[in-house]
């Protein structure tokens, strides 16, 4: 059986020392190992950004595509091979800026994919511009006199779109994060783990301390029922989105793959592609 080591490769990430993304990488590796996955059974599809580099750093099949499109790419991979454990990953800009459209629709579509976002509330790779999750008043290169747009709350958006599994973590709490990623992968349907993953180089406002001081851990709340939609919505609203833990799960949803008419158990990637003469002839006859 594969161990955490098997999910590591010999590449040294090019992240800045102290970047929150290291913990996300480690958490994904630990979660995969503890779920008993083999590296070749996993495909990690990532976007573009500092965070997007993650698909190169975990020893699984990895696909680093174009900015903002990790989710549709990942959905394509899943359709081709439903046996794969498909993870999609990227930054807040990638997922909630340029890729927000895809996010909303991936939630609606509900394929069995786990989406892990490294939310640092800034554009790291392009050297420090304001992001869609940056709060009102946030100052950065592109908002020198303060952001006049409101910050997007990913968990709120996900819940409104009808997500079936919603969790949020923090890079400083790896143990919690590993557990959340494990549960997300096990969930049969689309799951989001949004991770507050500080950018130590460009975001001087949303620092580790900032998150530590402001985060409210739902896992520690006695009696919090993650299957209660209204409770989830209330928790997010009361804490301005700054909650961690398993926020919401709905086990009554059916994954997209399990609803496709005629879709087979055998992955398409292994199917015989030749169409039978019977099917073809019948199809052609419609044009007689």
């Amino acid at each position: 059986m594969a161990t955490v080591k098997d999910f590591r490769n010999d590449i040294r990430p090019n992240w800045c020392p102290g970047c929150g993304d290291f913990s996300v990488q480690a958490s994904i590796q630990r979660a995969l190992a503890s779920l008993g996955k083999e590296p070749h059974e996993v495909a990690l599809i990532s976007g573009i950004g500092c965070s997007g580099r993650i698909s190169g750093y975990v020893n699984t099949y990895g696909f680093h595509g174009v900015h903002g499109r990790a989710l549709p790419t990942a959905q394509g991979v899943k359709l081709a091979n439903r046996d794969l454990t498909v993870l999609a990953s990227g930054g807040d800009g990638d997922g909630f800026g340029i890729g927000l459209n895809h996010f909303m629709h991936a939630v609606r579509r509900n394929m069995d994919i786990t989406y892990i976002v490294m939310d640092n509330r800034i554009y790291g790779l392009t050297k420090g511009q304001t992001s869609p999750t940056s709060a009102h008043g946030f100052t950065a290169k592109t908002t020198p006199s303060g952001n006049i747009e409101e910050g997007l709350v990913p968990t709120q958006v996900a819940l409104s779109a009808g997500i079936g599994f919603l969790a949020q973590g923090f890079s400083s709490d790896v143990n919690q994060l590993v557990g959340l990623i494990e549960q997300a992968i096990q969930y049969k349907g689309f799951s989001l783990v949004n991770v507050y993953s500080p950018c130590v180089t460009y975001n001087k406002i949303n620092t580790y301390d900032y998150f530590r001081d402001n985060i409210f851990n739902l896992d520690k709340v006695e009696g919090y029922d993650p299957t209660d939609f209204l409770a989830a919505q209330r928790a997010i609203t009361e804490h301005d989105g700054l909650v961690t833990g398993l926020i919401y799960r709905n086990d009554n949803k059916v994954a997209y793959e399990d609803q496709i008419p005629g879709y087979q158990e055998t992955p398409i990637s292994q199917a015989d592609l030749q169409v039978s003469d019977d099917i073809f002839t019948a199809a052609l006859r419609e044009y007689a």
């Binding site: 490769n9 010999d10 590449i11 083999e38 590296p39 070749h40 059974e41 495909a43 599809i45 573009i48 580099r53 698909s55 190169g56 020893n59 699984t60 099949y61 990895g62 696909f63 680093h64 595509g65 174009v66 499109r69 549709p72 790419t73 990942a74 959905q75 394509g76 991979v77 899943k78 359709l79 081709a80 091979n81 046996d83 794969l84 459209n101 895809h102 909303m104 629709h105 579509r109 496709i260 008419p261 005629g262 879709y263 087979q264 055998t266 992955p267 398409i268 990637s269 199917a271 592609l273 030749q274 169409v275 003469d277 099917i279 073809f280 002839t281 199809a283 052609l284 044009y287 007689a288």
Partner: protein
């Protein structure tokens, strides 16, 4: 007796113009006539004039023509807009209901279409009455419709079938009483050969099925949507799936993901969607992930003329992506070619590991025409180089499979995720042989050469098909649906005493420089016929270095397809 005839039905969009045309065309196709239909419609659902022109002949034509023998009009507007092309002495059949009037050069037959339909059971059967009246005018028996009507209405019960046949019969009889049977308009009998009747889009859908397509992410757009809607019906039968994505960027990246995952995945769009796909097409080229994209061209730019004919995406398809990638662009011209091109496109995509764009145009995509039998067995599935687990394990760098190993051909074996021993990285960044991001200059140059080298000296078989006379006065270069009008125009020019050759382009990337050079070299003059304003194909000939002292453009960009007579007249005028 006639060996060809043009019939047209016109009315408000949504009042059965299309189904009337379809019933007429299918019935005649089944008699063994060649049928070519062209639909004129607008970008709205109900209302607005639409018409369906059906050309029936003993010989194959793949174009519409410039006159009509019989016009069936459901409203006065249809007469006003179309009577100009009804030939001297031609027939107009119109519903009594709107008190039709028509100019003197035609014979107007006023038939109470709606009234007879109501008497037969329902006003909607006026289409049937009109078909009966048409049959009478053309000297055709009503029973040519029996089979088609039975198939169409069987589900609704025998009574409905009978009512419809009765409506046809009464239309026939009424026309006969008016003296509307015209021996001059009678068609020579056909030989009963069975052919299929389909449009390019139908053939593309069938071709996708035969080519092993199992995933199709797409976003609706005219004139591409039929392919998607067709596969929504068919893919469930073979365990496949169509996803209606949120946009074309998702469609293209999902297509890439599915092909990377090991499926044969296809997407289909038109110009606006092609523009949105450009970045991802670059990703397909950079990551050497095979993809197939169908672009059914329509009037551009922007929303342009969404329901009209144009061929103006060629330069976008060739040069629209930033950076430099290997790519293949195929240009079928007939439904038969549309069918086989999908399998070819996938074989090429997987052999060269690059994006392949199949380009049709609205006329080819939507014109239903008599089509020869299509052979499922002739579609071979060749998935190119795929490494086994063992091969992958033996070809590693830093513990990862060298997915982008440098090879002589530039093509490196792929492996599908899920395969033990095959782990590697894929990235749109420049990369090393194992797919890890890489910036060193030496590696960059080698990788660029590897990718671009795959198609560097390739001219795909059959990229140019040259027909016609040797040492011609003119070589007509054509692409897409223009094949039909050019073929006919060539005949007309020959009748005028010119020697004519026709060079039809079936692939424009890799641009078939040598093949096209060979195809035009003996011509005194070269005329490039294309449905765009700037002469894109002619520009490509210049760009790629196909040379000839006398090359001229024949362009049309008013939204209408070329007619044979117009190509004939224009080329004649060039001498």
């Amino acid at each position: 007796m006639l060996d060809q005839l043009s019939w047209k039905v016109g009315g408000q969009q949504g009042e059965g113009v299309e189904s009337t045309g379809e019933t007429f065309a299918v019935a005649l196709n089944r008699q063994g006539y060649y049928v070519y239909s062209f639909r004129h419609f607008s970008s709205r659902i109900k209302g607005g004039h639409s018409n369906d022109k059906v050309r029936v002949s003993l010989k194959r034509f793949r174009a519409s023509n410039d006159y009509t023998d019989v016009l069936l009009a459901f409203d006065q507007e249809s007469i006003d807009l179309n009577v100009g092309e009804v030939r001297q002495g031609g027939i107009v059949i119109a519903d009594e209901k709107f008190k039709p009037t028509a100019p003197d050069h035609v014979r107007l037959f006023v038939v109470p279409l709606t009234k007879i339909a109501e008497e037969s059971g329902s006003a909607i059967m006026k289409n049937m009455v009109s078909l009966g009246a048409s049959a009478c005018a053309l000297g055709l028996p009503v029973d040519i419709f029996t089979e088609v009507i039975e198939e169409r209405f069987r589900r609704k019960g025998q009574k409905v079938v009978d009512q419809n046949m009765e409506a046809i019969q009464r239309g026939y009889d009424y026309m006969k009483d008016l003296g509307g049977a015209d021996p001059e308009l009678a068609l020579k009998p056909a030989d009963g050969t069975r052919r299929y009747f389909m449009m390019g889009n139908d053939a593309l859908g069938l071709g996708a099925l035969a080519a092993g397509v199992r995933v199709m992410p797409a976003y609706p757009i005219t004139p591409a949507s039929d392919v998607m809607e067709y596969l929504i019906k068919k893919l469930p039968k073979v365990g496949g799936v169509v996803v209606q994505t949120e946009d074309e960027i998702a469609a293209m990246t999902m297509t890439i993901g599915a092909n990377y995952g090991g499926a044969r995945a296809l997407t289909c769009t038109s110009g606006p969607g092609l523009s949105l796909m450009m970045e991802a097409i670059g990703l397909s080229g950079m990551t050497e992930t095979p993809t197939v994209i169908i672009d059914t061209q329509r009037g551009g730019p922007s929303t342009g003329l969404p329901t009209k004919q144009e061929q103006s995406d060629y330069l976008a398809a060739l040069f629209g992506t930033h950076g430099e990638i290997p790519k293949i662009v195929l240009t079928p011209a007939t439904p038969e070619e549309c069918f086989y091109v999908v399998g070819d496109a996938f074989n090429l995509a997987e052999q060269y590991q690059c994006p392949v764009i199949i380009m049709t145009d609205l006329q080819l995509s939507l014109s239903k025409q008599s089509t020869d039998a299509l052979d499922n067995k002739a579609v071979k599935i060749d998935r190119g180089l795929i490494a086994t687990s063992e091969e992958a394990a033996a070809n590693q760098a830093s513990g990862e499979f060298k997915r982008y190993a440098f090879t002589e051909s530039g093509v490196s074996p792929r492996i599908f995720p899920g395969t033990p021993g095959g782990i590697h990285k894929v990235t749109g960044n420049e990369h090393f042989e194992n797919g890890r991001p890489a910036e060193p200059a030496g590696n960059r140059q080698k990788m660029m050469d590897k990718r671009l080298g795959k198609l560097a000296h390739v001219e795909l078989e059959g990229s140019v098909v040259r027909t016609g006379d040797e040492n011609p006065d003119v070589v007509i270069v054509g692409i897409g649906a223009n094949v039909g009008a050019i073929t006919e125009a060539s005949e007309m020019l020959r009748a005028d005493g010119y020697k004519v050759a026709h060079a039809q382009l079936h692939a424009i990337l890799p641009f078939p420089v040598q093949m096209l050079q060979d195809a035009i070299h003996d011509g005194k003059k070269v005329v490039v016929v294309e449905n765009n304003a700037t002469g894109q194909i002619k520009h490509l000939m210049n760009f790629f270095g196909v040379s000839h002292p006398d090359v001229q453009s024949l362009l049309k960009y008013d939204g209408q397809p070329f007619l044979p007579s117009e190509i004939h007249a224009k080329i004649k005028g060039m001498f």
